[in-house]
Amino acid sequence: MEKIAIVTDSLSDIPEDLVKTYRIFIVPLTINIDGVSYKDGVDITKEEFYGLLKEGKMPTTTQASPVEFMEVFKDLLKSYDYIIAIILSSKLSGTYQSAVIAKDMVDPKRIEVIDSRHYSLGNGMLVLQAAKMAVAGASKEEIVEKVYDLIPKIRYIMAFDSLDYLYRGGRLPKSQAFIGNILNIKPILMNDDGELKIVDKVRGQKKVIRWMIDYMKNTGVDFTDREVGLIHTDKEEFLNEIEAALRSELGITKFLRSRAGCGIGTHAGPAAVGVFFEEK
């Protein structure tokens, strides 16, 4: 049986315990705060990061470089036969580009790099699926096929108190204008083939929850046995309310809950939540 290593980047927001359980290898992006650079999740914890964000710091991110991937790839190929790297949307970060360059320089025949067209737990769910299959002994072809099969099926609904962070980091084009932080107006965003798109705006948290549940009901999917991803940056109470509503209104019992890492936190800001699920 071939040994397959699953690699991703630090913006996949997979809970730490699952990273360990499924032996997922994470290449961190760099977080820059006040001229100091930190490796996401390595040199700085989420708690430290959100503390700094609260103080009003304005972090930025830098994509993982080809060399950073080369080091990880070279190291893994000593003990694994094959590497599958599932990387966040190339439309939002050049990290995928770096991974591909590294692949070509290390050993293109033994490495597959996938542009997931997702981010945060959207990418995380793909990675987890791949990692579970690798542990169970699936072949690289089976894993890659499954990942590509899942990519168009994963949906997420995200709500923000403010889009300032997304605009500032350039992850939401200014052409997607939004009226701003008044009247408790909350924009609702979804993933649009690797980019963020404002799909609606509502006033108040209750209407956000209503919107999420209506959307999920309209898919016609029976979510009772499905695992649903939940994520927040620094908005735990709101996430609890969302979870309670999903339990009572959709009968969901299995949740993959995570707090977003520093990379996602940099671009989403402290007041963001998201619900992730497989549609269809």
């Binding site: 439309k91 580009q97 591909v100 980091g169 009226i179 701003g180 006033r203 108040g204 209750k206 209407k207």
Partner: protein, 526 residues
């Protein structure tokens, strides 16, 4: 006149280039709008080049060693998207030329070509109008001219010209640049790399200057232009001055001050409206060696595309009353806010004048009062613009409607959506009676508090908070998830908070200062 480059020259060129780019990185950062406008292109490219320079310091002077150091250094230092692309350009360049003994202009051209090939291959979806285009067109020009040109001086002058021409053309290839009125930042970084190499070739020592200001965003570029002239002087000073004194001497003329001194030579860079004063101050402390004054407005304007912005798709006019409410609408981005309400109806002409001021494809008008709808309709009939009246009775309806305008959808779709949403809003008004009367079977005394739900009198009392609370409970149903309370000019904030805290409902409750006359509260249930 050098006809070929040796390892030592190439090394000096790269080190000079690294410093040159570093000194100009802020300018490059400012232009950064693609692929993500995070304002770090210049910094990332400079970082990448610095890494190469560091690697070069350790290397021998043979062409092979120098090129290997450049290739390795840029790769190790590759930071950000543009840094990665730059590293790929140098990777191709170095690989192609590492076995060359002496680099001629045609060799250099071939190296560039190889760099272009590697970079295009490395980028998943090459986009034209970026550093890739600038590098490619430069390489093409280099290939074309290299046979006729034997010395590098002329060769470099020509290829830098080509690079700049290509850079100026980037907005025509990449719409996002045109919209922002800038040239491509990565492309500009590449031009600086070439220029820096040329400086190094000419033997000019380029020192890196730590720029004092931080990274400046695009928006600030325009704001900065309150100071028009980028002024630089080089002074041979009579004696050495402490930095603090120099800062005081030159800092008062403007901002973005940069001071670099090397023995008795001082370089001053400042953005100012009075370049003359800077020169005079320079004369006071020594002899001027060099002066450079750029009008930044002209620099900036030449970058801004000439096309006028099209009209926006939706414009909004509202008729409202009350300080707080006006502020809310202005923050919502309404184009025209006309003062008016129950006792103060604006004229048809007022509304028509308002409509005239709006430069939009579609104009939505919210009368917010039954008595004003007619005037709006008349204004619409008199206007030659595309106007749609949404017959709102209260401003809270307009707030919800405006929040729900989807600028990507057609006017018809938006009107239909707004109408549907408005049908689900309940409006509570709490006011007082100005005389004794009888309505809906209620005996009313002058001064009594009256509570209406959707214009129907539902409660009469003495305490406006109690009446409001009663009606909120009455109006809420299982679909209601938001209660917005707008308190009027007669109500203190504490009273409104008291009302909010007295409610035990399964909905978000929000209070806002409306400042409307006559009505203690206008409450929106949706």
């Amino acid at each position: 006149m050098l006809k070929y480059l040796d390892g030592k020259t190439l090394k000096n060129m790269m080190i000079a280039s690294s410093n040159y780019l570093f000194n100009n990185k802020v300018e490059v950062d400012r232009l950064n709008v693609f692929p993500v406008p995070d304002g770090d292109t210049g910094s990332n490219m400079a970082y990448t080049m610095q890494y190469a320079a560091k690697e070069l310091e350790k290397s021998q002077d043979t062409i092979r060693e120098v090129l290997d150091a450049i290739s390795k250094g840029t790769l190790m230092g590759a930071k950000g998207n543009s840094g990665v692309i730059l590293s790929q350009i140098f990777r191709g360049f170095s690989k192609r030329l590492r076995d060359t003994k002496k680099i001629t202009p045609c060799d250099f051209a071939e190296g560039l070509k190889a760099g272009v090939e590697v970079a295009y291959k490395a980028v998943m979806r090459p986009v034209e109008g970026t550093i890739l285009t600038v590098c490619r067109e430069t390489a093409e020009e280099a290939e074309k001219i290299c046979k006729q040109i034997e010395n590098f001086e002329e060769f470099f002058t020509k290829i830098i010209e080509a690079a700049e021409k290509s850079l100026q053309n980037t907005p025509n290839l990449l719409p996002v640049l045109k919209e922002a009125g800038v040239v491509d930042s990565g492309g500009m970084g590449f031009v600086y790399v070439l220029k820096g190499m040329f400086e190094g070739f000419k033997g000019n020592k380029i020192e890196s200057i730590e720029v004092l200001e931080g990274i400046v965003t695009n928006k600030q570029v325009v704001e900065d232009l309150r100071l028009l002239y980028c002024t630089e002087i080089l002074v041979k000073t009579k004696k050495t001055y402490a930095e603090a004194i120099l800062k005081e001497k030159f800092g008062k003329f403007g901002d973005s001050l940069v001071l670099v001194s090397d023995d008795d030579i001082l370089k001053v860079h400042v953005h100012t409206n009075n370049p003359g004063l800077v020169l005079e101050e320079g004369l006071k402390i020594g002899e001027l060696i060099k002066v450079k004054i750029d009008n930044m407005k002209i620099q900036h304007e030449s970058l801004v595309s000439e096309e006028r912005k099209p009209e926006k798709k939706y414009g909004v006019l509202v008729v409202v009353n009350g300080e707080g409410i006006k502020n809310l609408f202005s923050e919502l981005g309404c184009d025209v806010i006309i003062n008016g309400g129950q006792t103060m109806n604006p004229s048809t002409n007022d509304i028509l004048e308002g409509i005239k001021k709006i430069n939009a494809e579609n104009i939505l008008v919210f009368p917010n009062n039954k008595n004003i709808i007619m005037a709006c309709e008349q204004a619409k009939a008199l206007s030659n613009k595309k106007v749609e009246i949404i017959p709102t009775n209260n401003f809270n309806e307009a707030i919800t409607a405006i929040v729900n305008i989807d600028t990507e959808k057609s006017l018809e779709e938006n009107v239909a959506r707004i109408k549907e949403i408005l049908s689900n809003i309940k409006t509570i008004e709490v006011t007082y009676s100005i005389r004794d009367t009888q309505i809906n079977g209620f005996e009313i005394k002058k001064g009594d508090v009256l509570g209406f739900i959707n214009d129907s009198l539902e409660s009469v009392g003495k305490d406006y908070n109690k009446v409001a609370q009663e009606l909120i409970y009455k109006a809420l149903d299982e679909d209601s998830s938001l209660v917005s309370i707008y308190y009027g000019e007669q109500v203190k904030k504490e009273k409104a908070e008291e009302l909010k805290n007295s409610l035990s409902v399964d909905a978000d409750v929000e209070i806002y200062f409306g400042g409307q006359p006559l009505y203690y509260y206008v409450i929106s249930i949706e």
